[in-house]
């Protein structure tokens, strides 16, 4: 039987999606000890025209979304200084405000922009951070996220992950067909772009460590196959299409190898492929299911899912080979491991009484902390700063993305307007 698929790859030009397709982020549960901050609307050099971007809103949304900041309502601001010298510290101290962010957006002679900002410690009356960032018009939103990252790091002590991107799969159903897309978007859901569209299933997107490529599984050839696609050019390569399953790609930390699941030798086993030579090294040898390999951040270990002891559990093995060691013991069903950026934890899907939650396994003691409470949660992926985990949750409206802080206290729902959204993968820090 010959089947012709209509197939589409976004090439040099990205396909921009309509604005209603952005991820809508809501904090469903906050924390009480949020840091107070006031963000003064940035001044704009061409006061007679509308500014090309509302930087203040982007930064405010970022900081609020993190759940770590209590951002002062704009109507409550006692003054609106744009420069350090214009700040009346007593006005702010009286309100108990600890930190203020001020800034300017300036149109330059060549049509680009300059963004300058200062983060100020009100009680000490001193500047904590101050930068001037030149930007092309299309990068202004990114500059706002970079400012959010700096504010977050200066005030919480850990790097922010606002200037990052997420990849995910969407599925739209009509009466006649399903359309699957691989998309990337900014971490706040804006700038969604389609990288691939296919009538056949897509799954398991995985970012290369430099953020320039995405590996994924596509069924376009009537079987699973692993592809690696360059994000900017759209150029892609089919790296594994053996008989049987070709799935679960995971990049090595230095980006030259992919761990993957293949069943070409009889049943699912873990392999490591050198992307340059395409040579394979078989890592597991067991008649049970071995799948979902994921590289430890130091590159020395692989964690994976295996049902060699009965039900599926998480195992770790040395990259040089040897006997895998079981690391999850709580519960009968633990799958889809992903290491935290510091390598001390593994996030996973943990079933409790027939419900599938996102869990956090502490590798130092084997304890699993359950972070979510819906019935069908899956596909957890750490933010590169280790602060949040993005995952997919299935409810009455179908599959949607959600995020939870690693301490389980901050929950966000990222609601796409229509269709299923699944398989999120949080990208690395952008260089």
């Amino acid at each position: 039987m010959k089947v012709t698929f209509k197939f589409f790859i976004a090439g040099l030009m990205f396909v921009s999606l309509q604005s209603q397709a952005v991820l809508d982020i809501k904090i469903t549960q906050g924390i009480e000890q949020a840091l107070p901050i006031a963000i003064v609307p940035f001044s704009w050099s061409q006061a007679s025209s509308v500014a090309p971007i509302d930087l203040t809103k982007v930064i405010t949304d970022d900081l609020k979304r993190s759940g770590r900041f209590d951002v002062m309502d704009e109507l409550d601001l006692p003054q609106r200084p744009a420069e350090f010298d214009a700040i009346n510290f007593n006005d702010w101290r009286k309100l108990g405000m600890e930190n203020i962010l001020i800034g300017n957006l300036t149109l330059t002679e060549n049509g680009d922009y300059d963004v300058s900002f200062r983060l100020i410690d009100v009680y000490r009356g001193k500047q904590i951070a101050g930068f001037r960032i030149p930007a092309k018009p299309n990068l202004l939103r990114r500059v706002a996220h970079q400012i959010s990252d700096i504010v977050f790091e200066k005030l919480t002590g850990t790097p922010g992950a606002f200037d990052t991107r997420v990849a995910y799969i969407t599925v739209k159903k009509t009466k006649k067909k399903k359309t699957h897309t691989l998309q990337i978007a900014d971490a706040d859901g804006y700038n969604a772009q389609i990288l691939l569209e296919s009538p056949e299933p897509l799954l398991s997107p995985a970012w290369s460590p430099n953020g320039k490529k995405i590996a994924y599984v596509s069924f376009e050839g009537r079987n699973s196959a692993i592809y690696v696609q360059d994000i900017l050019t759209g150029k892609r390569e089919r790296v594994a299409a053996y008989e049987g399953i070709n799935s679960a790609p995971s990049w090595s930390p230095e980006g030259s190898r992919l761990a993957m699941t293949l069943s070409k030798d009889g049943n699912t086993e873990i392999y490591i492929m050198s992307l340059h030579s395409k040579t394979l090294k078989r890592m597991t040898n067991h008649s049970g299911i071995d799948t979902e390999p994921t590289w430890s951040p130091d590159g020395r270990k692989l964690a994976f899912t295996s049902d060699r002891s009965g039900g599926p559990q998480i195992y770790e093995m040395d990259i040089r080979g040897g006997r895998p060691k079981r690391v999850s013991f709580e519960g009968k069903y633990n799958v889809r491991p992903a290491y935290s950026p510091d390598g001390k934890f593994i996030t996973l899907v943990h079933a409790v009484n027939g419900s599938y939650h996102i869990g956090l396994l502490d590798l130092s003691n084997g304890y699993i902390n359950t972070l979510t409470d819906a019935k069908l949660d899956e596909s957890p992926s750490f933010a590169p700063n280790g602060g949040m985990i993005i995952y997919a949750t299935t409810g009455v409206r179908g599959a949607q993305l959600a995020a939870v802080s690693t301490d389980g206290r901050i929950h966000q729902r990222l609601g796409l307007q229509q269709g299923d959204v699944r398989e999120p993968a949080w990208g690395p820090f952008l260089k």
């Binding site: 299933p201 699973s224 679960a248 049943n267 299911i289 799948t291 979902e292 899912t305 889809r336 019935k375």
Partner: protein, 178 residues
């Protein structure tokens, strides 16, 4: 299977049961050029008509199309997180294996599926293991490895889209596709 469809099939069997080459070659036209009585019998049942046309493109009527044969069982269902063959499906798998061993030119695809619970990648492996367990059974019963192709879609192609046990039990399956 409706009575009407059975009737059409038995008519088809009479027409093509001792098929000559001529009938095979002209099969699509032959279906349309049937005597008015038979054409009317088919006219208001498009499913049945398609059935007859499909049939004529192979070597006439085959056991595979007998709704009373265990070969008509084309979907094997499984328990949660299991690839063990349930006893009620043994006879169907035996019949398919026997058919394959008697028809060495026939190939079949075993398409493994899982319900949506848990991870997609684990379910992909589970779907394959379900297909694999049927393949092993068929090989033991005389089918040859070259006749059987495996593919797993995991949870990516549910039969039913619901999020409850009634849907999930329909989705934990292997489809036998000739």
């Amino acid at each position: 299977m409706s009575i009407r469809l059975l009737l059409v099939i038995s008519l088809t069997a009479m027409l093509f049961g001792c098929s000559s080459d001529k009938v095979k070659d002209d099969a699509p036209a032959a279906v349309e050029d049937l005597s008015s009585q038979q054409a009317n019998a088919n006219a208001d049942d498009s499913d049945a008509q398609a059935y007859a046309t499909d049939d004529s493109s192979t070597s006439g009527f085959s056991q595979l199309d007998d709704p009373q044969s265990p070969l008509s069982v084309r979907v094997i269902y499984f328990e949660y997180d299991s690839s063990e063959i349930r006893s009620e499906f043994r006879s169907a798998i035996e019949a398919h294996a026997a058919y394959l061993s008697q028809n060495a030119d026939t190939t079949v695809t075993l398409e493994g599926h899982a319900d949506e619970r848990g991870s997609r990648e684990y379910n992909l492996a589970l779907g394959e293991r379900r297909a694999q367990s049927i393949k092993q059974q068929m090989l033991l019963l005389g089918a040859s490895s070259s006749q059987i192709r495996l593919v797993s879609y995991g949870e990516e192609r549910p039969e039913i889209d619901g999020h409850d046990e009634a849907s999930w039990q329909q989705n934990r399956r292997v489809e036998i596709l000739y």
